[in-house]
């Protein structure tokens, strides 16, 4: 009996959710080497910390689903290498970002100074529409350490000057404030969706509803109508060997409405 109840709830939930598009938010974490980018990502996604992380080489991402009010959002969080010379490779991953997290270490003055150039570099490379209002979040990490050098006020002032970037102080090690910071990341990335309702340029359609459906039937859409080559081509080809699914795509059915 109880199980039946759960099932019903389940179906209800599904229909509610499917009424709105499922959203994929791409988040890029930038900052100097050793400020704790990988740790922040892992604390947020896996709620784990270890002091055995290695310096990140190349790029990697983790995904996490969060529910923002009544919306289910998938956050795809990209961790990049901090050393400058590896950035030329990292930029390939900037494109299509919905939010950028700038991280510095409150005990390292230089890492704070670098925020400016990380921000500029990101805007140049990612080339977002409306760069003035692109959502950034600044995180001062490692507040668990005692030898802090950058005072809160200094960081807040910088953020205010940069068009009111939200500012958080975290300890990835102790899990302090990490979720709050990422909640703001998700909210601000999402809020852009409302501001921009017409895309800059239409997504070239190759089939009627390519925009909403991937082959698994669940619908992801990019926010803001921005699209880079990456997102367009990363959409998997049609399930040609799978006629029922193909038909369902053609008729724009939702996976929940069998």
């Amino acid at each position: 009996m109880l199980e039946l109840l759960f099932q019903k709830i389940d179906i209800k939930r599904s229909i509610n959710m499917s009424a709105r598009k499922k959203v994929l938010l791409k988040v890029i974490i930038l900052g100097d080497s050793g400020v704790g980018k990988t740790s922040l990502m892992n604390q947020f996604v896996n709620r784990k910390f270890t002091n055995q992380y290695k310096a990140t080489i190349g790029a990697d991402f983790l995904t996490k689903e969060v529910q923002i009010d009544d919306r289910l959002v998938t956050m795809q969080i990209w961790d990049t290498a901090g050393q400058e010379r590896f950035q030329s490779l990292g930029v390939a991953f900037y494109r299509g970002a919905d939010c950028c997290v700038l991280v510095y270490d409150v005990t390292v003055a230089n890492s704070f100074k670098s925020l400016e150039s990380w921000r500029d570099e990101f805007l140049i490379q990612a080339g977002p529409r409306d760069p003035e209002n692109f959502p950034f979040v600044v995180i001062g990490n490692k507040i668990d350490l005692e030898n802090r050098l950058i005072q809160i006020r200094k960081a807040q002032t910088w953020c205010t000057d940069k068009n009111n970037i939200p500012y958080f102080e975290t300890s990835a090690k102790e899990g302090v404030n990490v979720e709050k910071a990422f909640e703001t990341v998700a909210r601000n990335a999402l809020s852009r969706e409302k501001e921009i309702d017409t895309p800059d340029f239409p997504i070239p359609l190759r089939m009627p509803n390519e925009e909403q459906q991937n082959e698994s039937g669940c619908s992801y859409t990019k926010l803001n109508g921005r699209c880079s080559g990456i997102e367009l081509t990363q959409r998997p080809p049609l399930p040609l060997n799978d006629i029922p699914n193909l038909l369902s795509l053609l008729y724009n059915q939702d996976e929940f409405l069998y």
Binding site: E3, F6, Q7, D10, I11, R13, S33, G34, Q43, F44, V45, N46, R47, K48, F49, K54, A55, I57, G58, A59, D60, F61, L62, T63, K64, E65, V66, Q67, D69, L72, Q76, A81, R85, S88, L89, A92, K173, E174, G175, E179, K180, A186, E215, S216, G217, C218, I230, T233, Q234, P236, P237, L238, P239, L240, N241, D242, I243, P244, N245, Y258
Partner: protein
């Protein structure tokens, strides 16, 4: 706490891990536990709980981290999240808890041999790949059947052990499962000839439908893109007549048993060779006795070339590495006598300490005025603290070996200030230091290693980019279908191999495997680009998974990242050498390899014609000629034989050439 229903449960499931140490210092090779399929309001969840963690309270709550964060946290309007984060928990078992929603599953590989232990590998939609779960007391088939009730599984045509998830079945009512399923899905577990014919029928009927569709819809084009149209000459000579891609795949997954693929029937005939690779011989590592016999009475290696080949074939025994690497890394010249080596050691010792003094004697004021130096110093300090800290050699606070690591990197910065310190060098130094266990020796061997690898770290990254682009060019020739697939999915830059190539697989294999792989590569046998072939062999082994899962560029990156510590080295080396042998055969046949491929793989082929080597074995002579015909700019003549630069001049690559590649026939 969430109410949940257990749909499936099976104990005695194991993850076979590389040795890790638990809190008491005992090594764990196998992590045993129980696999569950449960259902709660979040959906159906597959979960692995290691023995010993059953009773921890996160077992059934959503506090518990899912694989790659496939959990949901809810933020309500007030902005309070569910809970504060969990942080420290010291059990090493924690990282072996896995769970994910069935909904996130992309495909399953299930291996079972007639008498062996079956294992399953789950790959998620974002490319995340879980470790193999071994079902010591069976149950993998039941689990697969259970999953098939909720997801539509379809067996891959290319690889009979791969089940692709097509989509979710409508929830619950079992009758619908029948109605909704199509084609071969219902025959998943049949055995014998009957199923074979049905599989074939299933496949054919789909193809027919596809063909009809293709007449009316232009977007079906995708399906036919990337069909392999290279049919190289000389296929038959190469013995690649009965290609069996499975065998290539199997070798990467340890338990290789071809009987199973016969069970499932289904052989696909490939037009191209490179599928069936020639067998190669690999040996046990060189033993101490064998090693000692290599030297004459003056302590000189009698036949350096055959020693290199021998190291390539089997590597060195652990205790020999300290000596052997000094030759391989050109600290000791191959033609040195025991006496000259003593002199070299003395001289190099003085040289090292005078360079070390240079930075040790810098005053604070001096450093204040040297921005670049300070930046590098702080970067080195940061990276040293996070270099291989899981290895016993570097464990613990205030570890003395970390200091050595630091000092060597700082001294290298003085030795080669133009290059300085770049992240990744610490990774390269770590095994060298562990093997040498001596500051001076480690430094000079590291210098030798950086002579090979240094180009990877240059500011403009052009060398590593060229290496990656060479990889794609080679792939176009060896497996055009896969190369095209990558290109269509914005992955032709091969960035997913960036880490693999930058630090020569250092982070992708266990420590012991890295030692072997490195000494194999350092022999420059059978060619100096052997690392490219290693990458290609890995990539080709993942072709089916990547293509049938229809991975896009993000998922490919994730999948390749997740292959770390999952690839078996010995079979991989065989595959890589097999690729080499086939390329070599092509090169020697008429009309030979396309110029662009030739220039990557055999840049010194022309010089080879005027070599004066005794060529009993063709392959060997190529290697030796490569060694003898290249020169190095960074190498001092007093300091051993000429070094092969780990570098390919690929300026000849252009549009026309790559066109040649794709249309060679």
């Amino acid at each position: 706490m969430i109410e949940e229903k257990i749909l499936f449960e099976r104990g005695n499931v194991y993850i076979h891990e590389r040795p890790v140490t638990d809190s008491k210092g005992t090594a764990l090779d196998e992590i045993g536990g129980t696999i569950f399929l449960v259902e709660n309001e979040r959906g159906k969840i597959l979960r692995f709980i290691p023995l010993g963690l059953e009773n921890t309270n996160y077992a059934v709550t959503d506090e518990w981290a899912m694989v790659n964060g496939h959990s949901v946290i809810s933020y309500n309007k007030n902005g309070n999240s569910d809970s504060e984060s969990l942080s420290f928990n010291n059990s090493p078992l924690l990282k072996y808890r896995f769970q994910f929603r069935l909904h996130d599953l992309r495909n399953i590989r299930r291996h079972h041999t007639l008498h062996g232990i079956a294992h399953m590998i789950f790959i998620l939609k974002d490319g995340t790949t879980l470790p193999a779960f071994y079902f010591h007391l069976g149950g993998s088939k039941n689990l697969l059947q259970q999953i098939a009730q909720y997801l539509r599984l379809e067996k891959s045509i290319q690889d009979s052990r791969l089940y692709i998830i097509k989509d979710a079945l409508p929830s619950e009512p079992k009758e619908n499962v029948q109605a909704a399923s199509t084609f071969d899905q219902l025959h998943l577990f049949d055995n014998g000839n009957d199923s074979m014919s049905r599989f074939k029928f299933g496949h054919d009927s789909r193809r027919t439908t596809m063909e009809r569709f293709s007449k009316v819809t232009h977007f079906l084009r995708d399906a036919f893109l990337g069909q392999n149209d290279i049919t190289s000459t000389g296929d038959n000579e190469d013995g690649g007549i009965t290609p069996d891609f499975n065998s290539l795949l199997e070798s990467f997954n340890g338990s290789c048993d071809l009987r199973e693929s016969n069970n499932d029937g289904f052989e696909v005939i490939y037009k191209v060779d490179f599928k069936k690779l020639p067998d190669v011989t690999r040996c046990a590592p060189i033993t101490i006795k064998e090693w000692q016999a290599l030297f004459d009475k003056n302590g000189k290696i009698m036949d350096p070339d055959s020693v290199k080949v021998r190291i390539f074939r089997g590597g060195l025994e652990n205790s020999l590495r300290k000596d052997g690497w000094k030759f391989l890394l050109n600290y000791y010249p191959w033609d040195s006598t025991e006496k000259s080596r003593i002199d070299i050691t003395k001289q190099k010792q003085n040289e090292y300490f005078s360079m070390k003094l240079q930075w040790r004697s810098m005053t604070e004021q001096q450093k204040q005025r040297n921005n670049l130096f300070r930046d590098r110093e702080s970067l080195i300090e940061k990276d040293v603290m996070r270099t291989d800290r899981t290895l016993e050699y570097f464990q613990g606070e205030g570890n003395i070996h970390l200091e050595l690591l630091h000092d060597i990197l700082m001294t290298y910065n003085m030795y080669n200030f133009d290059l300085g310190y770049v992240q990744g060098m610490n990774d390269l130094l770590s095994p060298v230091l562990i093997v040498m266990d001596n500051e001076v020796d480690a430094f000079w061997c590291f210098v030798g290693l950086m002579d090979r690898m240094g180009d990877n770290f240059h500011m403009d990254q052009s060398h590593i980019k060229r290496q990656l682009s060479n990889l794609h060019t080679l792939l176009q020739f060896i497996d055009a279908e896969l190369a095209n697939y990558l290109a269509e999915n914005n992955s032709s830059n091969m960035y997913f191999f960036f880490r693999w190539m930058l630090i020569c697989f250092k982070r992708e294999f266990s420590f012991q495997d890295v030692l072997l792989l490195w000494e194999v590569i350092w022999t420059n046998y059978p060619c100096k680009n052997f690392d490219l072939l290693v990458c290609l062999a890995i990539l080709i082994s993942q072709k089916t998974v990547i293509m049938e899962s229809q991975f896009g560029c993000n998922e490919i990156l994730k999948h390749i990242n997740d292959l770390s510590f999952k690839v078996q080295l010995e079979p991989l080396l065989r595959q890589a050498e097999g690729l080499y042998i086939l390329l070599k055969k092509h090169e020697e046949s008429t009309p030979g390899l396309p110029p662009v491929i030739s220039s990557i793989m055999f840049p010194n082929m022309k010089k080879k014609k005027i070599r004066n080597f005794n060529d009993d074995d063709d392959d060997e002579s190529d290697a030796t000629s490569t060694i003898s015909s290249t020169s190095s700019r960074t190498h001092s003549p007093s300091y051993g034989p000429v070094r092969v630069r780990h570098h390919t001049d690929s300026h000849t690559i252009n549009e026309n050439d790559s066109a040649v590649v794709t249309h060679t026939s």
